[in-house]
């Protein structure tokens, strides 16, 4: 490839198929002898199944349930607490109990209405607040504690000028990938092939090996083009894969399970709602002396990935700041609600929303401009992390902040908005900032101990090179970026590098497509493999290069004491957001968005811009637009417009810049970028709304209702 700089954009590999609509997603696939599956889901939140009565099923229709699972009845993930088909205890509304399988979907839905299940209902726990209140009796799915001893902190607090306590709440966030979840179990005499929309082929394969209790060559997982993931297709597809695979074995036909939007919204995983408590000791000038953070996550009905989400939330609990005398603990509590799971950012968005909000409020007490106050505590190269790891690489945050202040004309705007607000009663303008980072790759020793990634490059006789890896292009563009890396190393035209949709029969386990790890970890392995292939290149000969992950040991991570280097590297970001708030309706209108990022080295500028715009749109909306609630264990938003993700009218143009800071262990210096871009949106939008209204909020999303209520309360106080 003749690109002088790897960052120069190229035509995307999958463009043609996508723009024409002719690339087949899973719901576009039809195979011979295919039948559909529909799931009977629990109408109760917590209780026991007493009896199941099935209707008379017509010819060709069958019911599939727990009794048909050859292996143990759980979806293999981390803990063994998620049944494939619940057959005893029910833990949430929507939990699958059995599947009806047959040719015609309308017939299946009417049969589903005739299934009669008798339950013995028990008292459920519906909310995180209830779970916290009953903490001694509620199941704790995970907990960690670390930092300076509480005795030390208590001593510091005794000498402090004042102690500030704040509680902060964050809500659900729904992925709204445009393509609803779908999975097809293809029946063959000697194997079951599971094909569908997914991020993690080997998570699914391992779940199938367990559920089907079968040999390695009896199951195969193939990714279909995937219409968005954002974490929503990290863990959930494993359950659907178990459903279609078990059913295909029973009916000896291929079984398709595709959700419609309302089913997808009601039962698939979401971002964990969280409560974050801050207790900070200040001196007379408002300087921070110590800080304690408690984080509570609503895990929903089972563990899933929640323990790892909690870890990331805790590791980010001090934000980008060096806080003297810091202590944190976190709990993920069980509620009888839909299980929560992975979502772009994976615990970090909650933590950054909380800490940015808290630090912003502390700056007001100190009577120092928020950004100036934040900069006093900004971590620098060489500083320890809160888990006694180290920020090893250069940190460009000061430079990035300075640049963005200039680009946005921040200081001038502050003055302009103040004058505007004095002259206007109804409309108020505000500007807010957020500073953030994202740890790239798996938390702790995940890459070394659990994933152990392997990649393969295969060269055919006609000298075509194919990537054999298990990572999914879910829209983030890795079909293009990873091929670019290999093409550049081999000095071949990028068009000649092949990366077919992965199939576990063909590809080794290069790990899941999660945790902003694909470019940095898998990309680096591919770069190394390509270097080797280049050295060994023989024209007209079939060749294969395998490359395994090698862990660069730093300060070893210890999950028990929660100490060590939590991540090998960090990506960084600064956001500045301007809003206009309508005091009459509570509506918030974005005016301008500015952002600077540092992700090591960009592999494709255009693709990076896509990650920035898309991630920020999700992150901003998390702060003020997207609201999902659960009542008596039931998700209240049944349709996309009930929930309210941004439309083209909600987003404004985003001015962005990416700073170069090559990282030695990333391909061409690249680090992770996918999640980082979401994280700063919500805290910046909150800060901007607070600036406009000269008030403080202790929650996101800050919806019009929240704004109006806060204005009323203030008016009430003023009248008093």
């Amino acid at each position: 490839m003749n690109l002088k700089d790897i960052s120069t954009s190229v035509h995307k590999k999958d463009h043609k198929g996508k723009v024409s609509g002719q690339l087949a997603y899973i719901s576009d696939v039809k195979v011979e002898n295919m039948v559909y599956g529909v799931l009977y889901r629990s109408p109760i939140a917590y209780g026991k199944i007493i009896s199941i009565q099935l209707p008379n099923l017509p010819d060709g229709y069958e019911a599939v349930g727990a009794e048909h699972i050859p292996g143990p009845n759980y979806v293999k993930i981390i803990k063994e607490d998620q049944p494939i088909f619940a057959n005893e205890w029910i833990n949430y509304i929507g939990e699958p109990i059995l599947m009806l399988v047959g040719k015609d979907l309308d017939t299946l839905y009417s049969l589903l209405n005739e299934v009669k299940i008798e339950f013995e209902e028990h008292q459920a726990i519906y909310t995180l607040d209830e779970a916290i209140k009953n903490k001694s009796t509620t199941a704790c799915l995970a907990s960690y504690e670390f930092g300076e001893s509480l005795e030390n902190i208590s001593e510091i607090e005794q000498g402090a000028h004042q102690i500030i306590e704040e509680e902060y709440d964050t809500g659900y966030q729904e992925h709204v990938y445009l393509e609803p979840q779908g999975m097809l179990g293809i029946y063959k005499d000697d194997e079951i092939v599971v094909q569908g929309s997914m991020q993690c082929l080997y998570y699914i394969k391992n779940a199938l090996l367990s559920a089907l209790a079968c040999g390695d060559d009896e199951v195969r997982v193939v990714q279909s083009p995937t219409g968005g993931g954002f974490g929503g297709k990290e863990d959930y597809p494993s359950m659907m894969a178990c459903h279609v695979a078990v059913a295909a074995k029973v009916v000896k036909k291929s079984v398709m399970l595709v959700f419609d939007r309302s089913e997808d919204m009601a039962v698939t995983t979401k971002r964990h709602p969280a409560k974050l408590k801050y207790r900070t000791a200040l001196d007379k000038e408002g300087n921070i002396l110590s800080m304690c953070v408690d984080i509570f996550l609503d895990g929903g009905a089972n563990t899933g990935l929640s323990s790892v989400v909690l870890q990331r939330a805790l590791i980010n609990s001090a934000g980008v700041y060096k806080i003297p005398h810091f202590h944190a603990k976190g709990f993920c509590l069980k509620t009888n609600t839909v299980p929560n799971g992975a979502f772009r950012g994976f615990g970090a968005p909650q933590s950054f929303a909380g800490i940015e909000s808290h630090i912003g409020h502390l700056s007001k007490l100190a009577n120092i401009e928020p950004l100036e106050y934040k900069r006093k505590y900004l971590v620098k190269q060489g500083d320890p992390t809160i888990t006694k790891g180290k920020f090893r690489d250069p940190i460009l945050m000061e430079e990035m902040i300075e640049d963005l202040l200039n680009v946005s004309d921040y200081n001038k705007k502050k003055g302009e908005f103040q004058r505007f607000n004095q002259q206007n009663q109804r409309y108020k303008k505000g500007i807010g900032t957020s500073l953030f980072l994202h740890g790239c790759g798996f938390t702790g020793s995940g890459e070394r101990d659990h994933i152990k990634a392997t990649v393969k490059l295969v060269k055919s006789k006609d000298d075509k090179v194919s990537l054999k890896i298990s990572n999914s292009d879910i829209g983030q563009g890795i079909l293009t970026t990873l091929c670019k890396i290999v093409a550049k190393e081999l000095d071949l035209p990028y068009e000649e590098i092949l990366y077919p949709y992965p199939d576990t029969k063909e590809v080794p386990d290069s790990g899941p497509t999660v945790a902003s790890r694909t470019t940095m970890i898998v990309g680096k392995l591919l770069e190394r493999a390509a270097k080797k292939l280049k050295c060994k290149w023989q024209i007209g000969v079939e060749q294969e290069i395998v490359e395994n992950y090698v862990h660069r040991e730093m300060i070893p991570w210890d999950e028990k004491t929660f100490t060590g280097d939590a991540y090998p590297a960090y990506s960084w970001g600064v956001n500045i957001v301007e809003v206009e708030v309508d005091r009459l309706t509570g509506n918030v209108k974005l005016q301008k968005v500015y952002c600077n990022y540092e992700v090591g080295k960009v592999i494709d500028e255009r693709i990076m811009k896509g990650q920035i715009d898309g991630g920020l749109a999700q992150g901003l909306a998390y702060g003020y637009l997207e609201k999902m609630t659960s009542k008596q264990g039931k998700i209240q938003q049944k349709s996309i417009s009930d929930y309210g993700p941004p439309t083209s009218l909600d987003v404004v143009s985003i001015e962005s810049k990416v700073f170069d800071n090559p990282y030695a262990d990333g391909p061409y210096g690249a680090k992770g970028a996918g999640e980082l871009t979401l994280i700063g949106g919500a805290p910046a939008v909150q800060a901007a709304i607070e600036d406009a209204l000269q008030t403080s909020f202790q929650q996101i999303p800050i919806t019009p209702e929240v704004i109006i209520e806060s204005l009323w309360m203030r008016e009430g106080e003023e009248v008093d």
Binding site: S20, R261, G475, I607, L616, A617, S641, T647
Partner: protein, 158 residues
Amino acid sequence: MIKFTLNGRTVETVAPATERLLDLLRDEFELIGTKEGCGEGECGACSVFVNNLLQNSCLIPIGSIDGADIQTIEGIMETEQFKILDESYSIAGGVQCGYCIPGMVMASAALLSKTPHPSEAEIREGISGNLCRCTGYNMIVDAIKLAAKKGDGLWQRK
């Protein structure tokens, strides 16, 4: 029996009048470019032209299309206008997961046919019925601006 024009050809179906146009297109005519994202007319992934007007095919019972002229993404794929959009979406980087894109392209074509030189506000309005979760829309807005420029003179309907 329902008879209508589909991508320039006269076709007929015996499917029940209450069947959704979306299902008819996908199941009977195997036109997979029309996608289902919500089934409630909120996301625009199933956008088609019904008598030259942009419509969500998930909301249309086929009983109402007797005699109508239906065009899907497959029907416009060979046109000059599509080629311009294809190229513009690529240059602007408007495509990520791709699931919303055929519908988005239909909406872009509809907008440009009506307003060949749209302002940014008109573009945002024109695609506001089509949801995209990947791009944050800006690169799609850029694609449409580019298509307006590149396809100058092509967009006016005869």
